[in-house]
């Protein structure tokens, strides 16, 4: 298992995804990232942690340790779970100020995955990012 944001950073993901030029390799990599993302324990899959998407469900668990934010996330769909790993690589271990300063749209644009982030109801990814940002604001 991999700790995203610690073992794998946003830069690592940008580098690796940029290296592939066909969609199949890119999606295989995204699915693999999802497999590396530790599953959330049943106890964290609570109603409160549930971020509803129209199609698949996403759970987000967050904590604050020594001023830094840590997130765990899970989904019942493989590709969405891979996308969650990509989001966590950007946010984990950052201070609330750093979380809020991070340009997630630019990051997903660099990865050519912006359409996944902007589909408002499709996959719960956007709602999850909004929840992370709200929690960061609260923790400021």
């Amino acid at each position: 298992m991999t700790e995203f944001g610690v073992d794998v950073s946003a830069e690592d993901i940008i580098d690796t995804l940029g290296f592939f030029d066909d969609w199949e390799d890119r999606y295989k990599y995204i699915i693999d990232l999802g497999k590396e993302l530790p599953a959330l324990p049943e106890s964290a899959r609570t109603e409160q942690n549930l971020v509803r998407g129209c199609q698949s469900q996403v759970w987000l668990d967050s904590s604050l340790k020594q001023g830094k934010m840590y997130f765990g996330a899970d989904s019942d769909a493989f590709i969405v779970k891979g996308l969650l790993a990509i989001v966590l690589a950007a946010y984990n271990g950052k201070t609330p100020t750093e979380v809020n300063a991070f340009d997630i749209d630019a990051y997903f644009n660099d990865l050519s995955l912006l359409s996944h982030l902007s589909s408002t109801r499709g996959n719960g990814l956007k709602s999850m990012v909004e929840r992370i940002q709200a929690e960061a604001t609260e923790a400021l």
């Binding site: 199949e24 999606y27 295989k28 699915i31 199609q55 698949s56 493989f78 590709i79 969405v80 499709g122």
Partner: protein, 407 residues
């Protein structure tokens, strides 16, 4: 003479000529919305180019012309569904608004505490929620008609649910989630037997075969233009004259009134009583063009063509393995709803999209039946008359790749 040539038909749909993600588009999301032929697109554009004005205001030539095309569209739709008069054809925004109109206007007038409304367990949310809203207001109850594991209505259970407290039976002609064709004629006569009114949600059937509402003897019949090659934002509510006459208006405003004063207002006659405000004139024009499009093709041949596509898709999906079809009612339109035993429907849909194949994934706004089946949703490939054998083969190739990827 009407004829059916899929290649020639397809060439009338400009949107289908494009590439998506580097591949020629395979559009298999027709149950969500169908694409539009040139004739519909041109009719709408020409209306705005040449005839646009507000309707029923008289006073100038353009307005007369707009009124003429608007009302002849209504006549065309009345003939298309075999309504006895164009006064029984109301314009709405779509199926959803048609059902809300009946629930609110008819329901508000006819429902009281203890009354029951029956809807099938596989209805679209649009044919559940409006009933729940009006039922709650009046102390009535909405109850599901059980659906069997194969996706067909359990008629014995339906019969046993019927009693004189049932005031409305609202069922889909075709299930959008599973494709099942429901025995609506039988349902209508059984419901009438206990004095209930019947609303048929025809959103998914209208594009598939000719309908005769007089013969069906339903009280209300609702559909959307956009699922029958017409524009979005346009729909129809057919209602029997006797029902519509006695129902109160749905919304207030211009067009729907006869006289207005602070002492009291009198309402316009049918159908205008239910059409407050400036209507979707271009929508009516586009819908009329869609009706003409359908009247110009051999619909029996089109239906056979779709049935063949479904049979081929089912056979090839079976041969592929790892996928299970959800909903195997003996009577179905060309909708293939299925799940993979190795991944979430959304994963499968995303991999198909990457290959230029457009399908819908999710619960298809029919959450109760998905809950009954214990699945989060399905992948749904829905075929239309412009789909081809190559489209089926691209779908299956796409699914083979999805399996390789995700399994």
């Amino acid at each position: 003479m009407n004829h059916f040539d899929v290649g020639e038909l397809r060439s009338q749909f400009p949107i289908l000529q494009q590439r998506v993600n580097g591949q020629p588009l395979v559009y298999l999301d027709n149950a969500a919305t169908t694409q539009k032929p040139d004739s519909v697109i041109d009719a709408i554009a020409n209306y705005y180019r040449n005839d646009n004005a507000n309707v029923h205001r008289g006073a100038h030539a353009l307005s007369d012309r707009a009124t003429e095309v608007f009302e002849s569209a209504r006549q065309k739709v009345a003939e298309f569904i075999s309504a006895s008069s164009k006064d029984e054809v109301l314009w709405t925004r779509g199926t959803t608004e048609s059902i809300n109109l009946v629930a609110s206007s008819w329901g508000g007038q006819n429902l009281s505490a203890g009354d029951r409304i029956l809807v099938s367990a596989m209805e679209h949310h649009a044919n559940i929620v409006p009933w729940q809203m009006v039922a709650e207001k009046h102390g009535a109850r909405v109850e599901p008609i059980p659906v069997d594991a194969d996706g067909s209505i359990n008629m014995a259970a339906f019969v046993s649910l019927l009693d004189e407290r049932v005031k409305m039976v609202a069922v889909g002609h075709v299930s959008n989630a599973l494709g099942s064709i429901n025995p609506v004629s039988e349902i209508i006569s059984l419901a009438h037997g206990v004095g209930a009114r019947v609303l048929i949600d025809a959103a998914q059937s209208i594009a598939h075969w000719p309908v005769n509402v007089a013969e069906l003897n339903c009280d209300f019949y609702a559909f959307s233009a956009h699922k029958m090659f017409g524009p979005t934002g346009m729909g129809v509510l057919y209602g029997k004259r006797e029902c519509l006459e006695s129902m109160p208006p749905y919304q207030g405003g211009g067009e729907m009134i006869e006289t207005v004063s602070f002492a009291g207002t009198t309402f316009n006659k049918l159908p205008y009583k239910f059409e407050a405000g400036t209507p979707n004139i271009a929508g009516a024009v586009g819908l009329a063009a869609a009706v003409e499009f359908l009247q110009g093709i051999d619909r029996t041949a089109a239906d056979q063509h779709e049935t063949q596509l479904l049979a081929r898709a089912e056979q090839e999906l079976d041969a592929l393995g790892g996928y299970q079809i959800v909903g195997k009612a003996s009577q179905r339109v060309a909708v293939l709803s299925f799940i993979g035993d190795f991944a979430h429907p959304q994963d499968i849909g995303m991999i198909l999209d990457k290959q230029g194949v457009a399908v819908r994934t999710g619960n298809h706004c029919a959450q109760p039946i998905m809950d009954q089946f214990g699945i989060p949703g399905t992948v749904r490939a829905s075929f239309s008359l412009y789909n081809t054998v190559e489209d089926v083969d691209r779908l299956i190739a796409g699914l083979a790749k999805a399996k390789m990827f995700l399994a």
